[in-house]
């Protein structure tokens, strides 16, 4: 069975009946390995379409998932179950419940990293009978930019959940098993915020998702903030980590800030060293996020790398037909109609009319590196989303979300095509832009190959750059 992978979560969706006889054929070690190779943070089995399961059936999945967790620290568990199924799982595993349980897929997404900003300003209602679970759920949500409200009793929860419209999500019948040690990450505007805590030593290098960080640089993020309110102290390994991060980001013009760090138990000269390496310290998060001038200066209000002047190279141009074919074929697949190539030019990204258009981008890195930008007229974007959404929609968030999946498909296809030529690349998480001016700012007048495609009389733009 293949997993659906989105926002670094791989989900298997078995259907029907799960028992000791049927489960081994549904999920195999090969399926797990193939999904793990896609650089995921969480792997779940959805029980949404499972009408019957027993312990023997679940055991098959649990064994595979726990092996994955031991090997890679990936968060593993189940999602999309009903109350009755949750009770059964608790009963089956009792104190041996080492995996996580998320009542819905949406709740699971709140516990992982994403390129999507937490835009919802409502709070999250949290309830679990076990106080330590309540706290764990709340802390993890908070570290990812949500605002949890923890109920202290069944009565309080029963009363509050009567008004679900007041909350972004109601988290109950969910359980955090063994979590990964990865540093929590969230996006705020055009800034990436990492939450670090405790003692920062050599472990930080293992726990920090460097590929995510590189992806973020590749797709144009230049402001990285470390939320260090909960950091007690750091040693020289921590200092080295931040120094190296600053050096690596210099090529992209990245700014790295540390917020809330006190140096009561950390040598003061470490701060000087880090400042010399280019890191900037702030007392409070709002000192950055609420200061628009400063935010703009640091790159957190959009805009791309000022120093990245990398241009197209022969390697990338040689692969251009593969990129274009992957895009055209995917467009045709999604819309069930023909796209016609109009012209190909090496130039800075030029969009005659930015109003009424949406854009998406995906970066790739490995044997070759660069970024693909797609600019859609709204009508073409809507049409290309219909197959995935199953209906016409005017909801921009739905369309942008689906465009992200769309470029993910293109990225996956490019990756597969390049692999045929023994060119190995990884793709970044996709990024979408409601405002085309934002993508123009990210591209920042760098030259690339622009291909204009005609799609039923409307222009669709493909742009490949380094």
């Amino acid at each position: 069975m293949r997993a659906v992978v989105k926002n670094k979560i791989g989900v298997f969706n078995p259907q029907g009946f799960l028992d000791g006889t049927t489960a081994p054929a549904l999920l195999t070690i090969e399926d797990i390995q193939a999904t793990k190779a896609l650089n995921i943070d969480m792997m779940l089995v959805s029980l949404g379409k499972v009408v019957f399961f027993n312990k023997n059936g679940l055991d098959v999945f649990v064994r595979l998932l726990e092996t994955l967790h031991k090997d890679s620290g990936t968060v593993v568990g189940f999602c999309d179950y009903n109350d009755k199924q949750y009770t059964s799982i608790e009963k089956f595993y009792g104190d041996d419940l080492n995996f996580s349980l998320f009542r819905t897929y949406k709740i699971a997404t709140m516990f992982t990293v994403s390129m999507q900003e937490v835009k919802e300003k409502k709070s999250v209602l949290v309830w679990h009978e076990d106080p330590s679970q309540r706290s764990a759920l709340a802390i993890e949500l908070f570290d990812r930019g949500h605002t949890p409200i923890v109920c202290q009793s069944t009565a309080e929860f029963t009363q509050k959940k009567m008004q679900p419209e007041l909350y972004e999500e109601v988290v109950y019948n969910s359980y955090l098993g063994l979590l990964g040690s990865k540093i929590a990450t969230r996006v705020s505007g055009n800034a990436i915020i990492y939450t670090v805590s405790g003692f920062l030593d050599a472990e930080i290098t293992n726990n920090f998702d460097m590929s995510y960080h590189k992806n973020s640089l590749n797709v144009g993020f230049t402001l990285f903030i470390f939320d260090a309110y909960k950091v007690v102290s750091m040693n020289i390994h921590g200092v080295n980590f931040f120094s190296k991060l600053a050096s690596a980001g210099a090529e992209f013009g990245a700014n790295i800030c540390i917020v809330g760090m006190t140096f009561e138990k950390t040598p003061a000269n470490f701060k000087d060293e880090l400042e010399d390496a280019g890191l900037i310290f702030f007392e409070k998060m709002d000192d950055i996020l609420q200061d628009k001038e400063l935010l703009k200066e640091l790159g957190g209000s959009g805009g791309g790398s000022k120093t990245n002047k990398r241009s197209l190279n022969k390697l990338l141009v040689n692969q251009l037909p593969r990129f274009i074919n992957a895009t055209v074929n995917t467009m045709e697949m999604m819309t069930n109609a023909k796209a016609e190539k109009q012209d190909v030019k090496v130039q800075a990204l030029t969009i005659a009319q930015t109003q009424g258009k949406l854009a998406s981008s995906i970066g790739f890195y490995g044997d070759i590196d660069g970024m693909v930008v797609l600019v859609f007229p709204l009508s073409v974007a809507k049409k290309s989303c219909e197959l995935l959404l199953g209906e016409q929609t005017d909801n921009i968030e739905d369309i942008l979300d689906t465009l992200a999946e769309f470029v993910n498909i293109i990225g996956g296809r490019v990756k597969a095509l390049l692999a045929e030529d023994k060119v190995r690349v990884n793709i970044t998480l996709p990024r979408t832009y409601e405002n085309v001016d934002d993508v123009l700012a990210t591209v920042n007048e760098r030259k690339g190959v622009q291909v204009n495609l005609n799609f039923k009389g409307e222009n669709f733009t493909f742009f490949l750059m380094r």
Binding site: R2, P14, G16, A25, K49, L387
Partner: protein
């Protein structure tokens, strides 16, 4: 990915039901099993198919039964009709399966399992209608139609399904306005199968509402039975578990009774 023209080409390519089969079915409709056996003897492949069915372990005969009249006698009218329809559907199976990892022998096993369980269900519900009995034969046709339409699009489908949980039936419906069950109903139409067969099949997708309460009730049982079958190792190994979407809410009220009757 799939155009309207491809759908029309597929429908037009459905062969008419062979003359021998029409004659066998006509005899069964009249209740003349001996004559049906005589007609069936004219088609060696059908004869072999029937011998293969009756001599399977589930029938429990110690010795091989070769005589067609005897075979029709053992089967009885309703089961004979159903098996003739199973045979008709098997004529549509591809020589080589590409989308699903199946062999024709495995496909035949799926047909048999469904027929066997469907018989139990109808006995439980005390339904003797031959059309209803035969309707299960058409259900596996959805697998054949899916194989035929999507086998050349394997890579595209894999990519699409890697980012979104979307089944073949939904993809086809969104692209062409018709789904696999609509195409099965077309097959029933071309093969002049009794009308209730197509109606039950359409409703068994779990997505089409029917006004007839009996058809709705039967379609729930068929929907759940299909997913019970699609959860079996033979189907999961073939990649069939998620080829169409299971509508769990649709079958919630019959689930416990299903457990008692089938599992």
């Amino acid at each position: 990915m799939i155009t309207q023209e491809e759908i029309h080409d597929y429908i037009n390519a459905i062969p008419p039901s062979p003359t021998v089969l029409k004659a066998v079915l006509a005899c069964i409709q009249k209740g003349e099993l001996a004559k049906a056996a005589d007609e069936a003897a004219k088609d060696p492949a059908l004869k072999l198919f029937l011998q293969g069915i009756v001599n399977k372990p589930i029938y429990g005969f110690k010795n091989d039964i070769k005589d067609l009249k005897q075979i029709f006698g053992i089967l009885g009218l309703a089961q004979a009709e159903q098996i003739i329809y199973n045979y008709m559907i098997s004529l549509l199976t591809p020589t080589k399966w590409e989308l699903f990892s199946l062999t024709n022998k495995e496909f035949s096993q799926i047909q048999d399992s469904l027929s066997f369980a469907w018989k139990k269900i109808l006995e439980h519900k005390e339904i003797n209608d031959r059309s209803v009995f035969s309707s299960i034969s058409l259900l596996p046709a959805s697998i054949i139609v899916c194989e035929a339409l999507f086998k050349a699009k394997h890579d595209e489908l894999d990519l699409l399904r890697s980012v979104k949980e979307i089944d073949y039936n939904t993809i086809l419906k969104r692209l062409s306005g018709m789904d696999l069950f609509d195409l099965c109903a077309k097959i029933a139409e071309v093969w002049e199968m009794p009308e209730p067969i197509a109606q039950i099949i359409l409703a068994s997708s779990g997505k089409t509402q029917q006004t007839d309460p009996q058809i709705t009730e039967l379609s729930k049982w068929m929907h759940l039975l299909f997913f019970y079958q699609l959860s079996q190792p033979i189907c999961t190994a073939a990649g069939l578990n998620d080829f169409i979407e299971f509508n769990i809410e649709y079958v919630q009220d019959i689930y416990e009774a299903f457990q008692d009757v089938v599992m």
